[in-house]
Symmetry: C2
Subunit: 119 residues, 2 copies
């Protein structure tokens, strides 16, 4: 991931409604959510949501697929990983102890423990 992509991603996440959308999709898992369900969850007009979904999609943070009348959106987990890696790349100026906590923080996701639910 280069600076331009990371910039677009961070800018996309730096907006209340878009951050809520991404969080909702990250939580929802790979099955995703329909645009209508997202509009209800985030609490904005569908026309406005559509604008934000386009923005997130353009930033590569979400993907979509049509399913009957609905369009289903889901989080692009790989892009999120890349974004995290970009942010911490070449970190800490050679002092591992400084940025090691970041790894610990992410591991707290519990995904690696095999749990089916999270703290």
């Amino acid at each position: 991931m280069d600076e331009r992509q990371a910039l677009a991603a961070f800018a996309a996440l730096g907006q209340e409604h878009r951050l809520r959308v991404v969080r909702a999709l990250v939580t929802a898992g790979p099955d995703g959510l329909a645009a209508g369900a997202l509009a209800a969850e985030v609490g904005i007009a569908s026309t406005n949501l559509s604008f934000h979904l386009k923005e997130l999609s353009h930033a590569g943070l979400i993907t979509s697929r049509r399913e009957g009348k609905s369009v289903i959106y889901s989080a692009a987990y790989a892009s999120l990983s890349d974004l995290i890696a970009f942010l911490m790349r070449d970190c800490c100026g050679g002092r591992p102890e400084v940025c090691a906590p970041a790894v610990a923080a992410l591991s707290a996701c519990d995904c690696t423990t095999g749990d089916t639910a999270h703290a």
Copy 2:
């Protein structure tokens, strides 16, 4: 970290000059960089940099200390860790294999291997 803080942090990172500043500070390590050095590295006027530094500081992503005539800025590594944790919290809807790559991506930082330099 709550949504409000995360929002401020992402918004701060979603701006070209501010992202460059944070990257420069993350790379520099805990010793940090003086405002003047940052202005040169990022390539903006000092008055403009000052505006962005205030923004980043308010978002909790950087800290500062005075040292003689200069003000030294450094990355707030703990806040960056929290931000990453927030983004991936409750991820993947119970399917560990979906978001586990994020942990791997961050581990690629090499900080945990004890290297003094990074890939």
